[in-house]
């Protein structure tokens, strides 16, 4: 399939016709050459399942009023990033994971460092940016929206976990400029859902997910945080197959694939 076909005509979005044009070779890909930034609590690179898989580890530090990023050797402050990396690598084993630590780093872990981490990932032009976290503070909504626009224009595909709380969580509610994900009980990573018209458009496996954990262990976890890296990993496979794919095309592709799967 040509990616252009997927996006050139409105009528071609009528599934399953469009999906029938979508070859399935991407499922055999491994994410090779695709960079994924995991903006989170860091990654435990000593975990045997992750050794050699983490291409870089950066960490937010405060310098006066500025937040800067330097190489990090402090590992994972909470286990969250390690769990997300495990989910990605289980599906896209050759993806290039880059850890950007903004939680529990050097005494900071607030919305400012979260914003700075996203901006850092965009500047690095990582193809996929995994945000399995968010903020409910309204003062961060506008700057996050600006950053998402920058990401879109830079060709970075931002994937964000919804929270399942009554309050809106940013940036996951900005569905027009990112891919927001909530958990589903489905276990097959290729059977994700697309709910056009919903604020949180995508669902992916996020219930009882077995993944890496700090202390060189594994855990069975449930949460939107773990559904999000599923979609990041699927996108890594798609970008491995179609390296020129834009953020717009990526979302269209996910839509088509999910519709095809639901009519199988």
């Amino acid at each position: 399939m040509e990616i252009a076909d997927l996006t050139s005509s409105g009528e071609r979005f009528s599934a399953p016709g469009i999906a029938a044009r979508f070859d399935e070779n991407w499922k055999e890909c491994t994410g090779r050459g695709v960079s994924i930034a995991i903006v989170d609590s860091g990654i435990d690179i000593s975990h045997t399942a992750l050794q050699g898989k983490i291409r870089s580890s950066s960490e937010a530090f405060r310098e006066g009023k500025r937040i800067v990023f330097r190489d990090s050797e402090s590992g994972d402050a909470a286990g969250h990033g390690t769990a997300c990396a495990g989910v990605v690598l289980a599906i896209a084993p050759d993806a290039e994971i880059h850890s950007i630590k903004v939680l529990g780093s050097a005494g900071i872990g607030d919305g400012d460092s979260f914003l700075a981490g996203l901006e850092f990932a965009i500047k690095q032009r990582h193809r996929i940016i995994n945000l399995s976290l968010g903020t409910t503070k309204p003062q961060y909504a506008a700057p996050l929206r600006d950053l998402l626009d920058r990401a879109y224009l830079a060709g970075c595909i931002v994937v964000s976990a919804a929270n399942n709380l009554p309050q809106p969580s940013f940036p996951s509610v900005f569905s027009s400029s990112l891919i927001a994900v909530s958990k589903a009980t489905e276990q097959d990573p290729f059977k994700f859902g697309f709910r056009f018209g919903e604020v949180i458009e995508m669902t992916a496996p996020g219930v009882n997910v077995r993944t890496t954990w700090t202390g060189n262990s594994h855990k069975t976890v449930t949460g939107n945080s773990f559904a999000c890296p599923h979609i990041s990993a699927v996108l890594a496979l798609l970008l491995d197959r179609y390296p020129e794919m834009t953020p717009f095309q990526a979302k269209s592709a996910l839509f088509a694939i999910s519709k095809a799967a639901s009519t199988d």
């Binding site: 909470a78 503070k137 003062q139 009554p166 009882n208 976890v221 449930t222 949460g223």
Partner: protein
Amino acid sequence: MIETVEVAEVLTTPFNESIVNLLDLSSRAIKAEGASVLLPEGEEGDLVFKWACGSVSDSLIGVTVPSGKGIAGFVYTTGQPMAVSDAERETNFYSEVDRNTGFSTHTILATPLHFDGDVTGVLEYVNREGDPPYEPFTSEEMDLAALYADAVASLVHAYTSADLLGEFSRRMLEGADGEGSRDVESFLADLEGSEEHKDRIRLAELVRRASSLGEKERELCENILESFVRYRNGGH
């Protein structure tokens, strides 16, 4: 003066009771063996078990979770809810808590408490009732826990505000100095020791409990008390 001295207790007790009641109610709905609320304490971001229900609630209250440790630390740091179905393998924190409390943690569901955009604490449910193998907490139960967390967060905020108000009142009294202050302290000491004062506090507590039962109960309570006062005053 009575109100000032008792303000902390009078203000916080209803919230304390409501939080524990809600924990009990919600843990039944979520089919958990116990529930707890952890709040941050100190500058390091440690979490402390502040309220709990379940078999080891008494020994859990006051236990500190070091910053970033355990599922609670994880949820507090990220603001994202999560459930773990094999928590007994947790190496860094729960094994230590379990040793101290004699409890055996095997499943955990934790969700952040949000208030006014901030993560203010963590609501945690532990274990299934019955025998192993234990069912993991479901996706639906996680969503339900988030709704309970919203109510708990509001109560915790109200408790914290009441506690601050009580502390403020206490400091105001402590801050007063001179002869007048000693007279006040002496008066209050006598007052607190008096049986009449204790009776009044008990009565106030009884009225508070009765009035929390519902609108009709409040009306009935009010009518009874008014009738009694009218009767004692010789009215009709």
